[in-house]
Amino acid sequence: MLGKAIRITGAVQGVGFRPTVWRLAQARQLRGSVWNDSAGVQIQVWGSDENISEFIAELFRQAPPLSRIDRIDVEPIGSSCPCQDFQITASRHDTARRTGIAADAATCPDCRRDFLEPANRRYFYPFTNCTHCGPRFSIIEALPYDRINTSMKHFPLCPSCQAEYDNPADRRFHAQANACPDCGPTLWLENNNAETLPVTDALMAASALLKQGKIVAIKGLGGFHLACAADNENAVAQLRRRKQRYCKPFAVMAKDLAMIRRYADVSPLEQAMLEDKAAPIVLLTARGEKLADSVAPDGQLGFMLPYTPLHHCLLQIFNGPLVLTSGNRSDEPQSIDNDEARSQLHPVADYFLLHDRDIIRRLDDSVIRIIDAEPRVLRRARGFAPEPFKLPPGFERARPVLAMGGELKNSFCLLHEGQAVLSQYMGDLENPHAQAQYRQQIQHYQQLFNVVPEIIAVDLHPDYVSTQLGLQLARCGNLQIAEAQHHHAHIAACMAEHGLPLGTAVLGVAFDGLGMGLNRQLWGGEFLCADYRHFTRLAHFPDVPLPGGAQAIREPWRNAYAQFNHYFDWKALQQSFADVEILRFLAVKPQQILETMIARQLNSPRSSSCGRFLDACAAAVGLCTEQINYEGQAAIQLENLATPVFAEQQEQAYPADLRQCDGSIIIEWHRFWIALLTDLQHPTNAAVIAARIHHGLARITANLAVQLCEQHGLDTVVLNGGVFQNRLLLEEISRLIRQAGKTVLSPSKVPTNDGGLALGQAIIAAAQEL
């Protein structure tokens, strides 16, 4: 008989791994034992060589759905077996903590059967789960992942649940969040005076209220939602008014795929993402029946499927599409605590559907959009965090790093022991609640993942909250500071996701709104020759003033004015295109003041931003000319307008030129604007103009990228930055560059916007020390 010690690391605890090991060992008459320890799962087996090899192979093949095996190490041990059979033994916690933490997972098919089956003891029980599904990261307070370290500690198991918990053959064996109506959390319904309604079935009552057009705050998995009937315009419009969120799309939950298909196109890949265990919001193209107009005034619909038994049961009863938007007012982080929700949401919600399982950390719904046949995580939180990214070759000996991330859409990142843990979406750090959670989660992550950072990585922007806190942490802990340039970090994040080895150089195209460049210039349309350590700025968009600074981000017309002012003599332009709407719009603005602001650089910093260029284009076409209501709105509308005619305008791209200046290349938009204004004058259909704008931008970008690759001996182009959330641009630029024989990489699992910045900062900081 042979003996082997098998060490498994990865996300292998709390996911039903040991019962699987037990079952596979039993089936092959192996003897020995399996237990959890701080490093993962440890197995000792004795049996024939053939059976043990087969056993190991099956471990990979039959690993439970929520598990993730990072590695398996096998070592021989003595051939004398101390055991008569195979057993699961008590957890031991004596070694370095390296076990992964599973993300929250959507209800599995077995649990769904359980709570939909009238005879089952969990019939319509909204907290049903097992080792294959249910809450994880959202309820974990500490490691190891045992019930006592989760918010389920307040619910002692009843005998029936305990029996399941103790039985290795049961899929609820050691299911830490196991619960049933007898012992688990309960659900109740309140009015907005915190009075519990005397109803026998809170779900039925909530559904009835939603049918009446009421707004119900629902405590979910990672936070509160505000819900209302998505086909009731009065209800949705009222929700918008009360929430003071006027334009940004609302997410919708539908009972099942068939219901989603009534309102939107669903491709096979989109279906796969909707049904993924992460159950994200997937952005879909509306088609078929209409939802209420106010659900998504700007275009695409964000749909998700029920991902907890609570949502399943509610949707079964409600049997219609439900707006399920984050439970907050305006742009606050969503509430996670009952009392907090009562006080924050009482002006918004008519009723509250509450439960008593505490949410330990806020995990917003993740958002995905399929672009260029790849799912793109635009907001990475519930279901994805804290899944780690394996570091590329060359980073094995990297020193531990804490990267602080950006300012908006913030996430932070811990890099150590060959992997990078990117936090969930924390949100806008200018909000004090988000900022408090950010500080708290940074501490919490360091404890959970047992990381003691030696380097703190920050952005170059001195006024980012993240930069300031990073500098503070470094000073207090006497740690090294590494500054990572914003767009370099975007490129590095994408390189890391794709596992490019240390030392690889790429042509990085980073397009976004704004990021701090070198010498305190604002960048945002950048072509960089980059590796993980260094970058050189090879080419960029022209530096055009932002008249009014941050106000130019809110008011697209300022960018149109700045572009015109940059390229043309204002009076001559007025004469040539007198009847063009955008020029008439600008003519009534206070010219003298704007001109002075630009000439004297009064709060009018120059920026090479691609996002602001798109804003200028949108304003010229008449989209959001006066102001935007949420970040990126003008560009989103421009894309939606262009989409239906995009293909047919392929050959009508607006022209642009390249100019050498001080060793770098600058894209010049002079001819582009002439062509656009001429089209406006004719007049041309706005959709056609929008399509030509996209083609013009895509064409010059791809040409320049390929040209720079040739000049610098590069064969890979990395595309990243918030602008690449635009499907037309990412797909067309990728296509054109591939056509020229170059490899194109863009992020899929890491957000292309600033939500992925921290990963790039972390890897740059690590690389600079290797």
Partner: protein, 345 residues
């Protein structure tokens, strides 16, 4: 009989190097321009120092230099500003300002007519505030080595016995008051300097706050903090106080008075009034009980008509100033590293 051969040419004349030489020309400048307008008993003693009996109580002293472009602006000039600013710095201890000193650095070629206008303005400001300028100094620098005129003033005052005002005394529960609309001075200076033509003329709020402070400390001796939100504006002042007192603060955007003309100018320029300089406003932090009465009293004073309670001191998070926005959201009102730079990505 004047010892000077010819009078100063206050129409066409300019400052020349001899005005700082210590000789006859300098003496003439001092006598015919400075002493003539600033006239008071102590100054007339013509000593290198002013002598006076110290009053009972703790003394407060403060000094400040004034450099500003343009020198003359709607609502004031560098002269009145140099008087008001230093009086206010002394008054923010709750003190009654007694005397000022003034030191001038003049650039060769500076118009004597402008200098006289400035000195007349200083004299008027000092007189109105009841705080005479009792000693001074003049230096002249070569052409190109100054910006026309720089003025440094120092003020000394006395603090009433039961008053103990300091930036480290804000406590959770305290109310935060502002004496009037914010942003007036900074926006007026900017638009005047850059010749920005807004539909309404924006005027600096430059004023001496000593009398307002005297009324306030008399009614509520237990005021915890007073500060004038000058450079860096209200936002920076509140951050300083929050840090010094190790407390948090929550202010309400809707309660902060901003003139509609200032608001409109700020919107166009993309500036946040919270960060814009004021020269005639004060921030007061006081216990909650007397806050309403104090507010009423301030509103009865000509310099406090638009006073408002704009928020409260909270225990945590320490050092953090947050604002409830007009949309009901919250945002952090942070210090800035330097100029306002867009942060959105």
């Amino acid at each position: 009989m004047s010892p000077f051969t010819s009078p100063l040419d206050l129409q066409q004349g300019t400052v020349d190097m001899s005005h700082g030489s210590g000789g006859r020309a300098m003496a003439q400048l001092i006598e015919e321009l400075f002493v003539r307008h600033l006239d008071n008993d102590l100054l007339r003693q013509a000593n290198d120092q002013a002598l006076f009996e110290p009053p009972a109580g703790r003394l407060a002293i403060s000094t400040d230099s004034y450099v500003i472009s343009p020198l003359f602006f709607p609502g004031g000039d560098i002269g009145s500003l140099a008087v008001h600013g230093t009086i206010n710095d002394v008054a923010m201890a709750g003190a009654k300002p007694l005397y000022l000193s003034a030191s001038f650095i003049l650039e060769e070629g500076f118009l004597l007519a402008d200098l006289e206008k400035i000195v007349i303005s200083m004299a008027a400001a000092a007189k109105q505030a009841g705080t005479p300028i009792v000693t001074g100094d003049t230096k002249v620098v070569e052409r190109g080595k100054g910006d026309g005129i720089f003025i440094t003033t120092t003020g000394i005052g006395v603090v009433p016995a039961n008053v103990n005002i300091s930036g480290n005394r804000a406590k959770a529960g305290d109310r935060i008051l502002i004496s009037g609309s914010i942003g007036d001075h900074g926006v007026a200076i900017l638009s005047s300097r850059e010749n920005l033509q807004f539909s309404t003329t924006l005027s600096s709020d430059s004023a001496a706050l000593a009398d307002l402070v005297a009324c306030m400390v008399q009614a509520v001796p237990d005021i915890h903090c007073l500060r004038d939100p000058t450079r860096g504006g209200l936002a920076t002042t509140l951050n300083e106080l929050a840090r010094q007192s190790a407390v948090g603060m929550r202010i309400m955007e809707n309660d902060i008075p901003v003139k509609s003309s200032v608001k409109a100018a700020c919107e166009l320029l993309g500036l946040d009034p919270l960060y814009i300089a004021n020269e005639g406003k004060l921030v007061c932090i006081c216990p909650p009980e007397p806050a309403e009465a104090l507010l009423a009293l301030m509103r009865n004073h000509p310099l406090g008509r638009e006073a408002a309670i704009i928020g409260e001191v909270i225990a945590e998070p320490e050092g953090l100033v947050q604002m409830v926005t007009s949309f009901g959201g919250h945002r952090v009102v942070d210090w800035l590293a330097g100029e306002q730079l867009p942060r959105i990505c």
